[in-house]
Amino acid sequence: MEKKNLIQIMTEKAVAVGTIVHEISSVSDALQYAVDLNKEKNLKTLACPGLDSEDQDRLLDLCNSANLDLLEEPLRNQASSIDTSLTWVNYGIADTGTLMLASDSEEIRIATMLAKIHIAMLPVSKIRLDTGSIEAALNDILKKDSASYTAFITGPSRTADIERVLAIGVHGPVELHLLLIKDMQP
């Protein structure tokens, strides 16, 4: 019951800030979604840092048959040519529609910051109600002696710096897609 509510809240709040949300049933669907979206938008390239090698291989096959370019790491030298990135995110924060993404890896950062479209995958079991309920998890990261880079992402990049008119996609992704993966356990 609670889980159902969390998904609803997460979806509602994410949509309210301009995130495009879909519930899907497996990682394969997510891979397919990424490829289809690229085709539909007439885009050429994909990056998928952080996916396990099996999923990367499957995505590569899909890309090949769809005539898309799956970018190889390091992404830094191809920074200008990333159309779409597909990554996992660690948590969803339902009451603001926020995604938490541990982005220590530079590949993840570059992919999620420079892509035109960021597609985020989140197992529904990782949705929490509010920042209070991820505080401990975030603190575990921050309290380690090592460096870390953790992002809360809520919707696409936006600005209202000209005449207070909202405009989307000023420096970061123009679109944020959230794929809620239903029956995946952590």
């Binding site: 460096a147 880079y149 992002a151 710096d161 420096h171």
Partner: protein, 717 residues
């Protein structure tokens, strides 16, 4: 380069220019209204007032320990590979950053938005050292192209229209730009700035939080440029004020609940980023970034020890104190701050940028309390502004003439009242027997002629009292009247109406004759000694223990007596005898009539539409909002709301004389709204507002009558 007026003459000139800028005027007016209208929606799921008090308390508990928190932060951040510096002033901060740049053979620098870097004028410094610096926040880039400082802390380019931005972009890109289309303008920035991110050697950011127990920086942003700034270049320097230190993540997350809501009406910004230490960077030999955090003192640590001004360090730079300020919305940020803008800017300018830059701007506060009401960390901004003004005067070492006169006249009640009585005779040639003076002598008419002025009554209320208010045998209540100067000398009729009402309920009303001005005008002029002496005199004049209530029909007096007397004695560290007894008995007219008198509902229909103006010191000073509106209806009138009822009328006592050009603009908007309501009568419950509003409507030759609530209630039959 920022040039803030350093004397009144050039300040006035800049104000006049701003008032003539039609884009600025409409943009900021709309912003002010939209921001206030959106607030209830933004806070519908959150208890703003209790959360802000918790945050303020938490901040206060940390402020004395900023250096301890700094050491803790340093240790933790160093463990993760960051290098932490402290800079005692702006110059040192800039030098440290330039040194880091040189040591790392940096040529090109990109920046994301940082008010702290604006504070130190970092860009100017780095450019003089030969570095190429590009601002990447859209608003900051625009003002960098325009060679200006920010005009708002959150929206730095809010003073510019899309066409002005378009022109700047055309000059920058040598391409034709479709300025009508803001989306396209934004894409110009995306396209132009992308390569700069990729080429840059160093990124400079600010931070919203420095979390001591983990050595983490927290950054709250929307555009995504900060993320690129901290990721693409090999060196990252964060410039952070000591005041950004918090003890733990929980404190930061709590602030995060209010900061975006208060700043931009968002529950959270697009990006909140937590950065600790030297993160991975694949374009460096060791695979890690060079990461520096520079903490800026620049007066903060000494502020943290100041019992009064330490609260200014609570500020989380949300910008809301500008958003709601009626004066900011008229004159714009470049006339309402030096680097820091809005109410907090009037204060911090003295401490960060010196008295010369604060001298003129600090006087431009009408004390409407709007900023205090929305501050997410409960800073008593209007009070601190006056305290800042007092410091400026002290640092200047010479008393302004106005203060000299105020002290001389106000401290001597008999002299003060003698002058008021003489004014009755002096005004005769101008008033021509009317209760309002519509035309002033020519040399005054131009600036001050926006409203008719009230005349001084022939006989003040105090002289009439004995005949008006005989001793009652067995009164149901005993009330002492605190008349306030305006009722006593300008509106004695309000006193007569009051007695008419109270007699019916067998209430004894006394007028202690030694009472004098409440002292608010002295406090507004930062004439603190005089304000205190007047407080002492008034407390002595009222034998509070003999009365059930001390009633005043002036909202400003009521709020001053209730709140400021306590502050005056606390800050002077002089406990005043009977202070609490006195202040506890103060009651404003609306509260009294509603709660104590229990003004009955009439079944008569007065067939008149009444709109209301909420005096600043009643609705925000005393949080009395429902009572006056209920009373209007109980008296048989139809209450018709007008837009922005709780926005200042522009009076502010001597403010309207010192800044008539602004006062008249605020009044104009108020009266436009009043007229649009379709009301026959405008009611308010402060004689100062009555003066301003009736003066303005008289000048417009409007049919709308302005009444003090007491007049409406007394004359209902």
């Amino acid at each position: 380069m920022i040039k803030t007026a350093q004397d009144m003459k050039s300040y006035k000139k800049k104000i006049r220019q701003a008032l003539g800028d039609s884009f600025l005027r409409s943009a900021l007016d709309e912003f002010n209204t939209a921001y206030r209208e959106n607030r209830p929606n933004v806070y519908k799921d959150i208890d703003f007032n209790s959360l802000r008090d918790i945050i303020a308390e938490n901040k206060d508990s940390l402020i004395p320990f900023l250096e301890v928190l700094f050491e803790e932060f340093r240790l933790n951040a160093q463990k993760a590979g960051a290098i932490v510096h402290r800079a005692k002033d702006a110059r040192q901060a800039n030098e440290i950053i330039a040194r880091i740049a040189k040591e790392n053979k940096v040529k090109k620098i990109i920046k994301s938005k940082s008010m702290t870097a604006e504070e130190t004028f970092l860009n100017d410094y780095l450019e003089k050292q030969g570095f190429i610096v590009t601002e990447t926040d859209l608003g900051e880039w625009i003002i960098q192209l325009k060679h200006e400082g920010p005009s708002h802390m959150v929206m730095p380019a809010i003073h510019l229209s899309r066409y002005q931005v378009g022109e700047l972009f055309e000059k920058q890109t040598d391409l034709k730009v479709d300025a009508q289309n803001i989306d396209k303008l934004v894409k110009v920035a995306r396209r132009e700035l992308r390569p700069r991110f990729l080429e840059a050697d160093m990124g400079i950011t600010g931070a919203n939080f420095a979390i001591a127990d983990s050595g983490t920086l927290g950054m709250v942003t929307n555009e995504g440029n900060m993320r690129l700034t901290t990721t693409l270049p090999r060196v990252h320097v964060a410039l952070v004020g000591f005041d950004k230190l918090v003890s733990d993540l929980g404190s930061a997350l709590r602030i995060l609940k209010l900061l975006p809501r208060n700043a931009t009406g968002q529950a959270i910004t697009s990006y909140v980023t937590w950065i600790k230490g030297a993160n991975q960077s694949l374009n460096t030999p060791f695979g890690k970034k060079e990461m520096h955090v520079v903490f800026l003192d620049n007066g903060r640590l000494s502020l943290s020890k100041d019992p009064l001004f330490c609260t200014s360090l609570r500020c989380i730079r949300c910008g809301a104190c500008a958003n709601v300020c009626p004066i900011y919305s008229k004159v714009g940020g470049h006339r309402y701050g030096h680097v820091y803008i809005g109410a907090i800017g009037l204060i911090l300018t003295l401490f960060f940028h010196g008295k010369d830059n604060d001298r003129a701007i600090v006087r431009n506060c009408i004390n409407c309390q709007a900023c205090k009401e929305v501050c997410p960390v409960s800073i008593d901004l209007p009070h601190l502004i006056k305290k800042t003004y007092a410091r400026v005067i002290k640092e200047e070492g010479k008393t302004p003439v106005k203060n000299f006169l105020l002290a001389k006249v106000m401290k001597n009640r008999k002299l003060f009242h003698f002058i008021l009585r003489s004014a009755y005779l002096a005004q005769q040639p101008l008033s021509k027997g009317r209760p309002l003076i519509r035309h002033l002598p020519a040399f005054l008419e131009k600036d001050h002629g926006f409203r008719s002025l009230p005349t001084i009554a022939k006989i003040p209320l105090r002289d009439l009292w004995q005949t008006l208010s005989p001793k009652l045998e067995n009164p149901s209540l005993r009330i002492a009247l605190f008349a306030g100067c305006a009722m006593d000398f300008i509106y004695p009729d309000h006193g007569k109406d009051l007695l008419k009402l109270l007699k019916k309920a067998n209430i004894q009303v006394d007028f202690p004759l030694d009472q004098t001005c409440c002292g608010l005008p002295a406090m507004m002029a930062a004439e603190e000694k005089t304000a205190k002496e007047l407080a002492v005199k008034n407390i002595q004049a009222f034998e509070a223990e003999s009365y059930d209530y001390i009633l005043t029909l002036c909202a400003s007096c009521a709020s001053h007596l209730t709140h400021n007397y306590e502050k005056i004695f606390r800050e002077a560290k002089e406990p005043a005898m009977d202070l609490k007894l006195f202040t506890d008995k103060i009651i404003d007219f609306s509260s009294f009539m509603d709660r104590v008198y229990k003004f009955p509902q009439t079944d008569q229909n007065m067939n008149k539409q009444v709109t209301y103006h909420a005096p600043c010191h009643l609705c925000r000073g005393l949080h009395v909002t429902d009572e006056p509106r209920a009373l209007i209806q109980k008296a048989g009138y139809t209450y018709v709301p007008s837009k922005d009822e709780d926005v200042c009328c522009g009076f502010g006592g001597s403010y309207s004389v010192d800044f008539p050009e602004i006062s008249s603009e605020i009044l104009k908007k108020k009266l436009d709204n009043v007229e649009a309501s379709g009301a026959d009568i405008l009611v308010t419950d402060c004689p100062g507002c009555v003066m301003q509003l009736s003066g303005g409507l008289d000048k417009r030759q409007s049919h709308i009558k302005v009444l003090h609530l007491v007049e409406l209630l007394a004359n209902k039959k």
